[in-house]
Symmetry: C2
Amino acid sequence: MFELQAIGMVESALTDPDSAPKQGDEGAPDAWIVFDPAVAGALEGLNAGDEVLVLTWLHLARRDVLRVHPRDDSSRPEQGVLSTRSPHRPNPIGLHRVEVVAVGDDRLQVRNLEAIDRTPVVDLKPVLG
Amino acid sequence: MFELQAIGMVESALTDPDSAPKQGDEGAPDAWIVFDPAVAGALEGLNAGDEVLVLTWLHLARRDVLRVHPRDDSSRPEQGVLSTRSPHRPNPIGLHRVEVVAVGDDRLQVRNLEAIDRTPVVDLKPVLG
C-alpha cells in the first residue's frame, strides 16, 4: 500500500461528472490547477505553451469494478477496465494531456481539462519529444 | 491522502536503477508485468500489438526533492521536478509507454520497459487514438 498525497486541486467550471466530456479534446473547458504552496517550487521550468500530462485522483470513481462497457455504451460488450479509460478501476488515477496556457506562482491555467472542479491533482509530467 | 494498491509487479532483467535506461526507447529490454490474480479479469480486451501506458510506483524514489538537474546532468541548471521526468517527485508515479508483445492469463509481456525488476504496477491504460 502506497500513500498518495494531493499536491494541488482542479478549479473548473465543470461540476457534474455525468455531463463532463469523457476526454479533454471532446469539448472540455480551460481550467486552473492550484498547487499546494509546499510544492510551488517544483513548478519552475513550466511555461505557457508546454504540453503536460496531469495525473489526478478520480475521487468519485469506484475501485471495485473490473469490467465495463467502453464509454458507458451498453451496446458495446464489456471489457476489462485496464483495457479502457474508464474512471472506475482499482487505482482511479486520471491521466489528462493538456496545454499550459498561463503560469502563476502556485498555479497553472490549462486548456481542455475534463476533470471536474475539486479533483485532486497528484502529479504533473512534461510530454516527451 | 489516498491509498494506492499494487495490482501487479514488473519482472525484468533490469535490477540496478542507476544503470537502467532513463526512458523506454533508450535501450530498455522486454519485461513481464505479472498481475494480482484478483485483477486478472480487468485485463480482458488487451491484445498483442496494443500500445499501453503502464503506471508504476517508483518505490526507490525520494519524495522530498523539488528541484533536480534534468537527466542527472549537473551541467544543466536545476529545475522543478514537475517540469521533468525525474523519478524523484512528491508522488513517485512512473509512466511508461510500451507495446504489448504477448498476453497470458495474469500477465503481459511488454517491449521497452525501463522500470526495474520488482517495481510495483498500479495502473494500465490504453494509448488513445
